[in-house]
């Protein structure tokens, strides 16, 4: 089963799972640690992958994935191409609010190798929010971890009255204004 599907497995009690996809050597590990340090009232599982598809051997051990965050570093064109190639292995129903793009490295405009239009287009084509951050800075990393945790809560259905689709529409409309 190469393609990731959102509702193929049963959810686990009182827990949520996020998958961080980004090229190796990136800040995913530190972001994951920041997320684990945050105070929360449910269990979270953080899975890290350098690209999709995920190895099929361990598929039966993996929990249901509630949110996929693709990490793009604007200093590396390779990270953008890696994400674009991985997007082919995600089922289309994930794009109803369960995917977001994290763009890091925006603090260093002088090292920019990726054109901004390409990133905006990616967000528009896949109808998913694009979050700009600078994960190398501690403060912003903590803030981004908190944002992701909140999104994960919504995507796992743990916030009554707010669905993942509704929230993603909210984020996209406010970004456009």
């Amino acid at each position: 089963m190469a393609v990731l599907r959102p509702f193929d497995k049963l959810p686990e009690l009182n827990s949520a799972t996020i998958l961080l996809v980004g090229a190796e050597g990136g800040p995913q590990q530190q972001l994951a640690e920041a997320m684990l340090r945050e105070k929360k009232d449910f269990n979270i599982n953080i899975h890290l992958a350098s690209s999709l598809p995920l190895p099929p051997e361990r598929d039966h051990l993996r929990p249901r994935i509630d949110l996929i965050a693709f990490v793009i570093d604007i200093k590396s064109k390779y990270s953008l191409k890696n994400v674009q190639a991985s997007l082919a292995y995600v089922d289309v129903r994930f794009f109803l609010g369960k995917v977001c793009f994290l763009v890091t490295g925006v603090g260093r405009v002088n090292s920019c190798s990726v054109e901004m239009n390409a990133i905006w287009k990616l967000g528009e084509d896949y109808c998913s929010p694009v979050i700009f951050c600078e994960l190398e800075l501690e403060g912003i990393r903590v803030a981004t971890a908190q944002r992701l945790l909140r999104m994960l809560q919504i995507c796992a259905g743990r916030v009554p009255g707010v669905s993942a689709l509704y929230f993603s529409l909210l984020m996209r409309n406010s970004a456009g204004d």
């Binding site: 090229a23 200093k75 064109k77 390779y78 990270s79 191409k81 090292s111 920019c112 990726v114 054109e115």
Partner: protein, 251 residues
Amino acid sequence: MLGVFIAAEKQKGLAVDVDGELGVRVAMSGLPELRGSEQDPAAVLVQLFLRSSLSPKSSEEKLIWSGWFCCVAGDDLLEDLPENFTCLPLFLVNGAESYTAIVGSWFQKTFDCCFRRLAISPLNLTWMAAMWTGCKVDKNTAATELLFSVPHLPQPLDISYAIHPEDAKALWDTVQKTPGEITQEEVDVFMECLYSHFHRHFKIHLSATKLVKVSTGIASAHCDGIIKFLQSQYLIGVLMLLTELAISQIQ
């Protein structure tokens, strides 16, 4: 006044004292030819001459440093400039770093401005590589060379990728659809071809590294703002590009 400032700075021992010269003479002049169009302001040239200590009476002087302010084709980019204001956003320097620092600090103190190195991002460097490869040059030009710096390594590693200029131009000609017009997609395809060729041979993803220097037969540019002009016929074109970069960094 600049001359007095430089002499004072040298007394403090801040500048490198090589010959024990008596003094440094400053000459400022205008360069009316160095512009893109009639609307551009004339360039201003600043030169530092060193008087030899052996023969103080003679008029023998050595040019030790020169710098010039210019603005080439900046008219469309500088829209809301008040009347009587002259904007010369680009400052080109040739000479020792110590003199550059002294002259720069004098200008900053006197005119309340800011001098900064023109940092060129890898994205802009890829544009330069594509544009300059497409220019027509005679035979015997230098190879097109790209220098990459690999991040996240304990030892710094630089990768130099040299391409025969005719092959590079042939590749660019197949990519470019409309002569005289360049789009971001064409630049991306051109660089992607070069990267995938390298990957096929060396299994290294150059797109994950940082492009720091581009050298072609026309000119070479380093990400720290070090530029070399190699063909005088394309000088204005390169200056136009640098002016645009300088203005975008001011704004």
